[in-house]
């Protein structure tokens, strides 16, 4: 597929002590290429929401900053166009985040570590967009649709729906047993992190499910635990050998599943049990996607259709059990999405 990017700006991510442009920046990073990577986010969003056709020969992407006040950028608008001669399709999304957001967090940590910024001292982030002088070619991301199976939920063992709901343009179904296993594994491991390899599939149904707008459903079918993964407080090390073995198991099951993602936990204290009620609990919530988690999403699972299920505490959630939160790429970052259980 040929991808043409139309962009007339250079973008930089700056950290400053004050929220104005008069101050000398603490750090400046050219993030123009990170902005171009949002073309991939927009493309996958268009494919999964059943708007963009798969197999287009050419896509033209237009990147435009939406300014608060020039040169301060509020959002990035990405518009994709495929086809022509009466068959043109457009899809566009706006982004407040992107890879530059993670770069900025890392920069902030660096500034604190080297002492430039004191612990507790605030820094202001600004995304700056300036007209690019002259030719400014951008390397287009590799736009590839994820593997999607035309079929039915029943061929993956689906029997009936359980609790939960759908995001209309990104329906996610999780096997009830897998969801319960993730919560129980989190409880058993306590503050130590644990996890496993999640199998599943992207399935294109004949018709969208009720209350959804796309035929493409993400199905998470089972989680494979493996002793080669190792967990401790705040970190779960993923074994490449165990991940590779997961694919072999998926192939042997013969249902067309593949390794979709990993499930991991952010810890839960079985001693106090009040993790969901205690605002000062030191354990990270399952709603929090850390820089380490993002690194997994951008290296091990670089496709933008990948979900990240995290089990752990969730402030305000009822009861004394961990919660399973499913995160999906939305707006250039991983955000929790509604999901529904199913029984097999």
């Amino acid at each position: 597929m040929q991808v043409v990017i139309e962009n007339s700006h250079r973008f930089s991510s700056e950290l400053r002590r004050k929220a104005d442009l008069d101050d000398v920046p603490l750090s400046t990073d050219d993030v123009t290429q990170s902005v171009a990577d949002l073309v991939d986010d927009t493309y996958i969003d268009g494919v999964l929401s059943d708007v963009l056709p798969i197999g287009s020969a050419e896509i033209t992407a237009t990147i435009e900053p939406v300014f608060k006040t020039p040169p301060l950028v509020d959002e990035i608008d990405v518009r994709l166009r495929t086809g022509g001669n009466g068959s043109a399709v457009e899809h566009h999304k706006r982004f407040k985040s992107g890879r530059w957001s993670r770069t900025r967090q890392q920069r902030l940590l660096q500034l604190r570590q080297e002492g430039t910024l004191a612990e507790g001292e605030t820094a202001f982030h600004m995304l700056i967009g300036l007209p690019a002088a002259g030719d400014h070619p951008l390397q287009p991301p590799a736009l590839q649709p994820p593997p999607i199976i035309d079929g039915t939920l029943e061929q993956f063992g689906f029997r009936e729906f359980g609790e939960g709901g759908f995001v209309p343009d990104r329906p996610v179904l999780v096997n009830n047993r897998m969801a319960e296993d993730a919560v129980n594994a989190c409880l058993a491991a306590g503050a130590r992190e644990t996890g496993g390899t999640a199998l599943g599939a992207l399935v294109r149904l004949k018709e969208p499910l009720a209350n959804t707008t796309t035929r493409i459903v993400t199905l998470l079918t089972t989680c494979l635990e493996d002793q080669r993964h190792s967990g401790k407080l705040n970190e779960w090390s993923i074994s490449p050998e165990a991940i590779a073995a997961g694919q072999e198991i998926a192939d042997m099951r013969g249902m067309g599943e593949s390794v979709m993602t990993i499930v991991h936990t952010h810890g839960f204290s079985t001693e106090c049990g009040n993790c969901n009620q205690n605002a000062s609990c030191p354990l990270a919530e399952c709603t929090h996607v850390s820089l380490l988690d993002y690194q997994v999403m951008e290296t091990l699972f670089p496709g933008k259709s990948t979900l990240m299920p995290i089990a752990g505490r969730k402030l305000g959630a009822p009861g004394k059990r961990p919660v399973l939160e499913i995160h999906a790429w939305r707006g250039g970052e991983m955000r929790p999405v509604r999901w529904k259980r199913y029984q097999d």
Binding site: Q247, D293, E298, L300, P302, S305
Partner: protein, 92 residues
């Protein structure tokens, strides 16, 4: 042994797929590790200083092996990094 003449590389979720002949950017004298580097570059996947491995049918390939040591059946790889998830937000 029939030597591999092309390579197919993908991530574990089979979303970023790259195929190349061993007469183009890669030649039989390149190593597995160099081929992985090319895959990361073409797919715009950040290397992030991580240790990367190529697997064929669940078996890890020696990153120092040259591509002419591979037979045709070893030409489809899954590229996987050593990486950690978790609540920690340390520098890496």
């Amino acid at each position: 042994m029939v030597a591999a003449t092309k390579l197919k590389m993908t991530d574990i979720s089979r979303q970023k797929r790259f195929e190349t002949d061993l007469s183009d950017a890669l030649t039989p004298r390149h190593t597995v590790g160099q081929a992985v580097d090319l895959y990361l570059d073409r797919m715009r996947i950040p290397g992030d200083g991580l240790r990367w491995s190529a697997f064929n049918r669940g078996v890890k390939l020696d990153s120092k092996a040259t591509l002419d040591e591979l037979d045709e059946e070893q030409s489809e790889w899954t590229v996987i990094p050593e990486v950690s998830a978790g609540a920690k937000s340390a520098l890496h």
